[in-house]
Amino acid sequence: MFKRIEQSGSETGQKLTFDDREIVFRAGDSLAAALLAAGIGAFRQSPADGSVRGPYCMMGVCFECLVEIDGRQNQQACLTPAQDGMVVRRQSGARQLP
């Protein structure tokens, strides 16, 4: 879906997981960019109609990239810098109350 312009230069060796899959990211990546770079386009299922959704605006406006990050649900992946050891999960349906 996407490829890096620079083959090397900003590798950090840092990783996060998305639904238990290991994702290597680069310096400056938002969580949404890191997932898209790894070929992941589907971030959640809409609570309204169950349809699959992924990032649309990449600037915090559309709220389509909502994911669960380290147990916190409904986080905007495009506004969250990717961090080492982050545990990210796809959201299905509406947020559950703790």
Partner: protein, 470 residues
């Protein structure tokens, strides 16, 4: 409550950076807030990190790299910079409520500059909610912030300066399978032509030359181009897989891996609406503008609006609008004399005007097609609540006269994006259905919190507050 700052500036794009730098250089205690982790806004996004990257710099071009000087000026100005910060409430005072890393701040300023910039006009077409469909701006953000270029079969559909610029950047980045579905309408040309002579004055010729260069670069055969495109429908199960459309009235279908949509940009209205600023429909730009005076003052005391948030002017003119607002505030603070303010404003206004000479021509040439406001019944208009254009038409037929009544009928605009991605389409469609203008049709009543906050975050803010007061 005493003043925490002389001025708070919201948004670190060209307008906000120029406003904050000018204010701090003039001795005002200035706070600049931005939702992103670094300065630049969307236009100069990640320019500090990218200026030393040869390949990416070459692709993004000199107009992008020019932003680095403004970032340097901001860093040297002494303004306090707070990034990764969401402003979730703004009230008269002016008082700004923000959240940084789960902590709530509540700060009062002598003046507020709203420089929240633009967003892309929503493009409701069949299949636009599928993964693999993004805005062209979103794709360019990935290029700027992560050096990611689309790979595979890329379809870009739309029109406008950013559309052609990004298409060219894709070619520079080595895109091999690029198809452009150009939705520009030749019928716009007669309306644009009277504005052409003025477009040649000031800095206008630079914009026109750049545009002609882009169009020439795209016509060399490396991108497949369909013109006069209408009736776009994206299809796929869980991912965009093909696009159907009409080109010159003839049906076409293409297989694809990624689709970029773009029909121009509009001011981000969420904050200025929530504050209760007056807005007026601007027919030339086909969007609402907040009302402002020559300095950028809104209809609310102490609140200025600078740059694209006040009407689409582009990066260079935005910078000058930020400076104009800062000069007015510095004079109110007594930091500069009215005579100095007026002399500096004259230069700023002249520079701004030079960058705006081509704007009326371009606005009319790339005016969004009328059917953007009248999608077929089956098309989703509110992405969050999955409400179709047909449901909205039915609600209007049953008596919903405006966007706020439609909310009550359908929950349209009540999902997580709070109407940002359907507001313009809902107003447009209701205006067409009821044969009224956009001003009369109105817009969603926007309420805070403008960004989601948790009850725990609010509670901790109130504990901080009571400690503060005791």
């Amino acid at each position: 409550m005493s003043l925490d700052w002389d001025a708070i500036v919201i948004g670190a794009g060209p307008a906000g950076m120029a406003a904050a730098a000018t204010l701090a250089e003039g001795g005002a205690r200035t706070l600049l807030l931005d939702e992103q982790a670094e300065p630049g806004g969307q236009i100069y996004r990640a320019v500090e990190r990218n200026r030393d990257k040869a390949r990416l710099s070459a692709i993004l071009g000199p107009d992008y790299l020019r932003g680095a000087a403004l970032v340097d000026r901001l860093r040297a100005s002494g303004a306090s910079l707070r990034f990764s910060t969401s402003v979730w409430r703004v009230e008269e005072g002016p008082i700004v409520w923000s959240r940084t890393d789960g902590r709530i701040a509540h700060e009062r300023a002598g003046a507020l500059v709203i420089a929240t910039g633009a967003m892309e006009r929503p493009v409701p077409v069949a299949g636009w909610t599928l993964p693999g469909v993004m805005t062209v701006g979103a794709m360019q953000i990935l290029l700027k912030s992560s050096g990611l270029a689309p790979s595979g079969r890329l379809v870009l559909a739309g029109t406008g300066p950013l559309f052609y610029l990004f298409a060219r950047q894709c070619l520079e980045a080595g895109a091999e399978h690029l198809t452009l579905l150009d939705t520009a309408q030749t019928r716009n040309i007669p309306a644009a032509l009277p504005h052409f002579p003025r477009a040649l004055t000031g800095q206008g010729w630079r914009y026109l030359t750049k545009g002609i260069g882009l169009l020439a670069a795209l016509s060399t055969g490396r991108a497949k181009i369909f013109r006069g495109v209408t009736g776009i429908a994206i299809e796929g199960e869980a991912q965009a897989a093909s696009v159907r459309f009409l080109s010159g009235g003839k049906p076409q279908q293409l297989d694809c891996d990624l689709v970029g949509l773009h029909e121009g940009v509009i001011p981000q209205q969420q904050m200025t609406r929530s504050l209760g600023c007056d807005h007026r429909w601007d027919e030339g730009q086909a969007c609402f503008h907040p009302r402002r005076d020559e300095w950028g003052r809104s209809t609310k005391p102490g609140v200025f609006i600078a740059g694209d948030a006040g009407g689409i002017v582009g990066a260079e003119a935005s910078r000058h609008e930020g400076e104009a607002a800062a000069l007015a505030i510095l004079a109110e603070l007594g930091r500069i004399a009215p005579a100095e303010r007026d002399a500096r404003l004259q230069a700023v206004r002249k520079a701004r005007g030079a960058h705006l000479s081509a704007r009326p021509f371009l606005d009319r040439l790339y005016r969004p097609r009328a059917d953007l406001a009248t999608p077929p019944d089956a098309v989703t208009i509110c992405r969050c609540e999955a409400i179709s254009a047909g449901s909205l038409r039915l609600a209007v037929a049953r008596g919903a006269l405006g966007p706020n009544q439609a909310k009550a009928y359908l929950r349209v605009g009540m999902g997580p994006c709070q109407g940002r991605l359907c507001g313009p389409s809902v107003t447009g469609l209701i205006a067409r259905e009821t044969n009224r203008g956009e001003d009369e049709t109105g817009y969603y009543r926007v309420r805070d919190p403008l960004k989601p906050i948790t009850v725990a975050e609010l509670a901790s803010a109130s504990r901080q507050e009571s400690r503060h007061e005791s």
